[in-house]
């Protein structure tokens, strides 16, 4: 089913919207959550919370593309659950994703003002536009979807080591880009 048709079902408040959303993006939602959460039941709960979040926000939202919207909700909910329960459970793989990000943006940035956070996101988006398809794919899969390097290698029929090196170089370029943009001290 096309995204527009699924969104139309949400606007009609038809429960079939959730069925179709799960059919089309359920695997992506669970994978995104599973990359962050270590617990099968937590992943299921996160997926359900994601569908609830989509149900509660469409309408009035009319997101395009729908997959980005849904996966962003899943990602945020999974991260929230992860941080809330981290006293009892750790996910070293997810910690590794956060460490890598911290590594390429180590300088203190004042993010208390919301617009500065959005400015940084926009700068990173502009940076992504300068990359090759593959480098951009690797970066987004690793740092938005929190995939492991091995999973990315499986998706792309590539070698983990090569992907790791490409990610490292992309992070170096990002650091340089943000410095030149004046966003890092």
């Amino acid at each position: 089913m096309e995204d527009s048709e699924i969104i139309a079902l949400f606007y009609e408040r038809s429960e079939q919207a959730i069925v179709e959303l799960n059919r089309k993006y359920g695997t992506a939602v669970k994978k995104t959550a599973a990359n962050i959460l270590n617990d099968r039941l937590d992943v299921e709960e996160c997926a359900n919370d994601t569908y609830l979040g989509v149900w509660n926000t469409i309408p009035p939202q009319n997101p395009k593309p729908l997959v980005s919207y849904v996966c962003r909700i899943a990602r945020n909910l999974a991260a929230k659950k992860y941080h809330a329960r981290r006293a009892a459970k750790r996910n070293s793989a997810f910690d590794a994703v956060l460490d890598e990000l911290e590594e390429c943006i180590p300088a203190p940035v004042n993010l208390e003002a919301e617009y500065e956070a959005k400015e940084l996101s926009a700068a990173i988006s502009r940076f992504l536009g300068t990359l090759s398809y593959e480098d951009r794919f690797f970066f987004v899969r690793r740092y938005f979807y929190a995939d492991s390097v091995s999973d990315i290698a499986a998706m792309t029929q590539g070698k983990s080591h090569r992907i790791s090196v490409r990610l490292f170089r992309t992070r170096e370029k990002l650091h340089q880009y943000l410095t030149e943009e004046g966003l890092l001290t």
């Binding site: 695997t27 992506a28 994978k31 995104t32 099968r40 039941l41 299921e44 359900n48 609830l52 395009k64 997959v67 980005s68 919207y69 996966c71 962003r72 990602r75 945020n76 991260a79 929230k80 941080h83 809330a84 329960r85 006293a87 009892a88 070293s92 910690d95 590794a96 994703v97 956060l98 460490d99 890598e100 990000l101 911290e102 943006i105 180590p106 300088a107 993010l111 919301e114 940084l120 996101s121 992504l128 090759s132 398809y133 593959e134 794919f137 987004v140 938005f144 390097v149 091995s150 999973d151 290698a153 499986a154 998706m155 792309t156 029929q157 070698k159 983990s160 080591h161 790791s164 490292f168």
Partner: protein, 581 residues
């Protein structure tokens, strides 16, 4: 920059790129200008030949048994663990059982069960039905092997029978390192003061699995450690992707031969160590997170440094004694004169008022939940916002309570949540919070809070007795009442301080107010009254409670959910009640 902030910034990148990365498009990669600019025809041919040569060498090496991994690994396709590109070809690789060489019945059975589990994992489960079914099962294999219905359980037994193996019959979950030693009969096997280990579960034959951290030069390293024994269908194994990418070699350490495997990536590495002695199979796996900000040059030297952190001799043998955890019993003592029982506490205005509000708040909360997945009636929500609540029906309850009980009601509240000052009104428990519509997650955090500030918020000296516990989260009201989350080993529980004459909204109602309690002499020498509050009545959890009384306050040890009497005693032993006045 806070890691969570970085994660959020990345989350707000352009939607187009998120959608673009949903599915890999090789044709897009081939058309990428950057790729074309860097590759020259002659070099492509050379690289292709080199790749083929490396692959051939790798296959040859595996066939000849040069590498330890080959003797443990069964070649098989890696299943798709919910990838967002379901049409991707399953990755080649292998499966390593925790307790046998590749051709052993243990390894073959372990793989067969992993494949069966994968098929069942992909099904859509009715979790309420699963909960109801597992609650009725007496076969310990249900819990140990995560069987959700009779078909799964029958499949499991069938595999065990086919390969002539037994199933694990008992499991213990040690919460602390001290318990782990008691239940395994093992001594210290981890070298180095800054290294940490937490055994998660141990079976009746002494097999166990757990995680830990090593402090190595330049960073900390997370590891998973398994010890398994022959003759049983082990409930856990490991898939290994792209095994040819590992560098493998053997070393001698403390007179033993260890098989090491390592592969590099730009932030670190992922490695394996195999050791086999007698009936004990030891598998150590570890990965990344090393020297942030610099490319990792871990290499064989680093892998051997990991191995050197372990005394593999000390990991073998030992007489398992699951009773050390599972067989702990209630240890009542004669109550000292004047010791308040939990039943007596239930008669106090402090309990009566607070528990009535706690129940009213949960009923209010439940009435507003409309999702199928939400289970009403658990009474697990907490209210941390200021008073009055601004909600008519809740404030009506408050007014009634204020009229009925002469208590000091709070007017302000502060909170520290996992190392940062936080908005208490967003907390739903000491471990979680909800962001209101229109706000962002970043608004929850109000600045970093040190450990000293956390103790200062409570206005009490450090009362934790075990080095395996720490204060993770705290909420304090202007009445002097407070509630704190204590992490202890692999679990956590709450301590609530209620000055006499004050109202503390996080005092929960007993499910069985007349439930028996017992006097217990804690490790600090003080007596407390303990109750597990009877049997759970689904969906409502019990309210296990430890009660300590001073001249001016009640100190309540609360466990959010169910816990055993023995665990309640363990939690109480961790508190130095002499610190409270």
């Amino acid at each position: 920059m806070k890691r969570e902030q970085l994660f959020t910034v990345i989350g707000d990148i352009d939607d187009r790129y998120i959608a673009e990365a949903f599915r890999y498009a090789p044709e897009a990669a081939a058309a990428s200008p950057e790729r074309k600019a860097n590759m020259k025809p002659k070099r492509i041919l050379t690289l292709a030949l080199a790749a083929a040569l490396i692959l051939a060498l790798g296959v040859t090496a595996y066939a000849s048994g040069w590498f330890g991994l080959s003797t443990r690994m069964i070649e098989t396709e890696i299943p798709d663990f919910g990838s967002s590109t379901p049409d991707v070809t399953p990755a080649p690789g292998g499966f390593v059982a925790s307790n046998g060489e590749a051709d052993s019945p243990e390894a073959q059975a372990s793989l067969a069960w992993a494949k069966a589990e994968e098929r069942y994992r992909q099904a859509d489960w009715d979790w309420k039905a699963v909960d109801a079914w597992t609650a009725q099962q007496e076969d310990p294999a249900c819990e140990i092997y995560h069987c959700y219905n009779q078909e799964m359980l029958d499949t499991l037994h069938g595999i065990a029978e086919e390969y002539g193996l037994r199933l694990h019959s008992e499991v213990a979950y040690p919460m602390t390192q001290e318990q782990f030693k008691q239940v395994t009969g093992l001594g210290d096997f981890l070298r180095g003061e800054d290294n940490f280990w937490q055994g998660h579960y141990i079976f009746e034959d002494g097999s166990f699995k757990g995680e830990g951290e090593l402090a190595l030069e330049g960073g900390r390293l997370v590891f998973t450690l398994q010890r398994s024994r022959a003759g049983v269908l082990a409930p856990y194994g490991m898939y290994v992707r792209d095994p040819v990418s590992y560098d493998e070699w053997q070393i001698s350490q403390d007179g033993h031969s260890l098989n090491l495997a390592l592969r590099q990536n730009d932030t670190g590495f992922d490695g394996l160590i195999f050791f086999h002695e007698g009936e004990d199979f030891i598998t150590l796996s570890y990965g990344a997170q090393f020297v942030p900000g610099t490319p990792a040059e871990f290499g064989r030297e680093g892998a051997e440094a990991v191995a050197a952190c372990f005394d593999f001799d000390a990991l073998c043998g030992g007489e398992p004694d699951l009773d050390a955890v599972n067989g702990r019993t209630v240890a009542p003592v004669k109550p000292k004169e004047g010791l308040m029982s939990t039943a007596d506490f239930a008669e106090t205005p402090e309990y009566q008022a607070a528990s009535r509000f706690h129940s009213a708040y949960n009923e209010y909360y439940d009435a507003r939940q409309t999702d199928d997945w939400f289970v009403k009636g658990q009474y697990m929500q907490e209210y941390y916002a200021p008073f009055p609540t601004g909600v008519e029906e809740l404030d009506a309850v408050l007014q009634e309570l204020q009229g009925q009980y002469a208590l000091h009601f709070p007017t302000s509240v502060r909170a520290i949540n996992f190392g940062s000052w936080a908005r208490p009104e967003w907390l739903t428990s000491l471990m979680s919070y909800r962001v209101p519509e229109g706000a962002t997650k970043e608004d929850f955090h109000l600045g970093e809070a040190t450990e000293e500030e956390t103790w200062a918020l409570l206005g009490v000296e450090n009362f934790l007795r075990s080095e395996e516990s720490y204060l993770a989260s705290a909420v304090a009201w202007d009445t002097g009442a407070w509630q704190a989350l204590i992490v202890y080993g692999s679990t956590s529980y709450e301590l609530c301080y209620v000055p006499k004459g004050s109202f503390c909204p996080t005092v929960r109602a007993f499910l069985h107010p007349g439930a028996e309690s017992w006097a217990y002499e804690t490790a600090c020498g003080e007596q407390v009254s303990l109750t597990v509050d009877g049997e759970m009545e689904y969906p409502r959890f019990t309210t296990p409670l430890g009660l300590y009384e001073t001249d001016t306050a009640y100190v309540l040890l609360q466990f959010p959910g169910m816990c055993s009497a023995a665990d309640l005693q363990l939690f109480a032993d961790n508190i130095d009640f002499t610190k409270f006045s």
